[in-house]
């Protein structure tokens, strides 16, 4: 049961990948009948887990152009020509990756270095500007490090709360919910909407996260431990949603 594709066991009960899948699932709690768009294998497992448990109304796609229901049946069609209509209408909560992210949630997936002379070209801004200004956004960082959690991102693709504030009414739908990493969960539930440590994964210390984060941590009075998977969640992950451990292999 444990050690699938080299997963790190966290305890006798569950692995880090399973814990992170549950932390990702939690971002879609109470979202209702909207499109959940996970980028990455663990977030995708999390979205399926959320729908199979506490968020049954979520819409999920097969990653191509089909809405697929919890029984694996095609229930509707969502080609790219309809995606931006949905995004701009606000009925979506995306979980994107981030090559860099700062304390206000500005995210970079475009390039590292000067935009005009990039040191490392990445994929491009993609849909990040339009996503963040129109609907709820969360981020997934499978390799928490100070190279990713930086004081200032090189190119602002997904916009953060400081940028949103400067936009007045046009920024009113910016809603960055969570950042889930392999070490902890952050939220933005602070007076200035800067990133705050929401919970630590079991066995991780505040000092460890501080050392892996390139800006000062904002801490609640007491830092809770990230919710651990329930027995039913573990059964769903292992027997139903990811029986071959493919999704969980994202965290080796």
């Amino acid at each position: 049961m444990l050690g699938i594709l080299g997963e790190i066991p966290m305890s006798a009960d569950f692995t880090l990948a399973e814990l992170c899948a549950v932390a990702c699932a939690e971002i879609w709690r109470d979202d209702g009948e909207i499109l959940a768009s996970p980028m990455g294998l663990i977030p995708a497992l999390g979205a399926k887990l959320a729908r199979a448990t506490f968020a049954p109304d979520l819409l999920l796609t097969d990653g191509v152009a089909r809405f697929v229901n919890g029984r694996g049946e095609v229930e509707s069609w969502i080609p790219y020509r309809a995606i931006f209509d949905l995004v701009w209408s606000g009925r979506r909560h995306v979980m994107m990756g981030a090559s860099q992210i700062d304390r206000f949630g500005n995210q970079n997936i475009s390039c590292i270095g000067d935009f005009h002379h990039p040191k490392v070209q990445l994929i491009g801004v993609r849909g990040a500007p339009g996503n963040t200004i129109h609907h709820p956004t969360s981020y997934w960082v499978p390799n928490h490090s100070a190279k990713i959690f930086v004081p200032k991102v090189d190119v602002v693709c997904g916009i953060g709360y400081d940028r949103a504030r400067s936009l007045g009414a046009s920024g009113r739908w910016v809603d960055i919910r969570r950042v889930v990493s392999n070490k902890c969960v952050f939220d933005f539930e602070t007076p200035d909407r800067s990133m705050r440590l929401r919970s630590l994964h079991r066995g991780v210390t505040t000092e460890e996260v501080a050392a892996l984060t390139g800006f000062p941590l904002t801490l609640p009075a007491a830092v809770p431990i990230t919710r651990v998977p329930t027995a039913e969640e573990l059964r769903l992950i292992r027997d139903v949603l990811d029986p071959k451990g493919v999704a969980r292999s994202e965290l080796k």
């Binding site: 080609p79 801004v125 993609r126 339009g130 602002v156 693709c157």
Partner: protein
């Protein structure tokens, strides 16, 4: 009207410094036989507008590109496009990097002969910082909201690939997604469509529903029969992506010798 022509005819219709829009998405249903013909030609200084994949990479690798207009460039199963990255990191191309929805909006504005379409996408992001020509527009209504005025992206030529087409230029997509191929055609002065197979118009109804007929003949000037014309990108249901060939393409990119050997074979 019989609009059949060849890849060579398309190259003849192009000239240096033109703006080309290329349909498909990432490494999906790209008109690669047309892209290869352009790569082999002496054309240069092109501006390429694309939901980018190996079309962008190949034209960069062959030094055909002056400017790129894109939201991303990716090979899907290989997230980063090596030739695009090399072109960017070497400072070889000018770029207009846009949110994907802004790109759609620019093509749609051009299709409708509008100077711009308003959107919130891009506001607050560095898309506006690095595209200083983009302007904002204030809503004339009570809300007074500031919006991006996404300018029309006018194309000289559009290139798309369909599963089936007839001689007159009606096209049929049989896969799951049209992407933005209709908008590329509507935004362009000259429109060329390659296809897996040219068929009689009467056959369309036997192959797919009415809803698969999204490219009509008023949108197309030339039809090229090109079986396998999208390879190595996918063209479902006719064929999937040739992952082995794509891997070979990507792996050869880092090495001048391997790269010219690959191109000699692929072009």
């Amino acid at each position: 009207m019989d609009k059949r022509c060849t890849e060579a005819d398309v190259v003849t219709a192009l000239s240096d410094s033109m703006t080309l829009g290329i349909g498909g998405w990432g490494s999906r249903r790209k008109p690669m036989s047309l892209v290869r013909a352009i790569a082999r030609s002496s054309l240069r200084d092109l501006t390429i507008v694309s939901y980018g994949g190996p079309d962008v990479g190949l034209l960069c690798a062959l030094g055909k590109v002056k400017k790129l207009v894109y939201g991303f460039v990716s090979l899907d199963s290989i997230p980063l496009e090596p030739h695009f990255r090399a072109a960017r990191q070497g400072g070889a191309v000018e770029v207009m990097e846009l949110d994907e929805g802004m790109l759609q909006w620019g093509l749609y504005a051009a299709s409708l002969r509008l100077p711009f379409l308003p959107t919130r996408a891009g506001l607050g992001s560095d898309v506006l910082t690095y595209n200083p020509d983009l302007r904002l527009v204030k809503s004339p209504y009570a809300d007074g909201e500031d919006l991006v005025a996404m300018p029309a992206l006018h194309l000289d030529v559009a290139l798309i690939h369909m599963n089936r087409a007839d001689l007159q230029g009606n096209g049929q997509f049989l896969g799951p997604d049209l992407y933005f191929d209709d908008l590329f055609c509507m935004a362009a002065k000259k429109r060329f469509m390659s296809c897996e197979k040219i068929i009689d118009s009467a056959e369309f109804a036997t192959l797919g529903s009415l809803h698969t007929l999204r490219i009509h003949r008023a949108m197309i000037d030339g039809v090229i029969e090109a079986p396998g014309g999208a390879a190595f990108t996918e063209c479902p249901p006719d064929y999937g992506r040739d992952e082995a060939l794509q891997r070979e393409y990507a792996q050869a990119a880092g090495d001048a010798e391997k790269c010219s050997a690959f191109l000699a074979k692929y072009l």
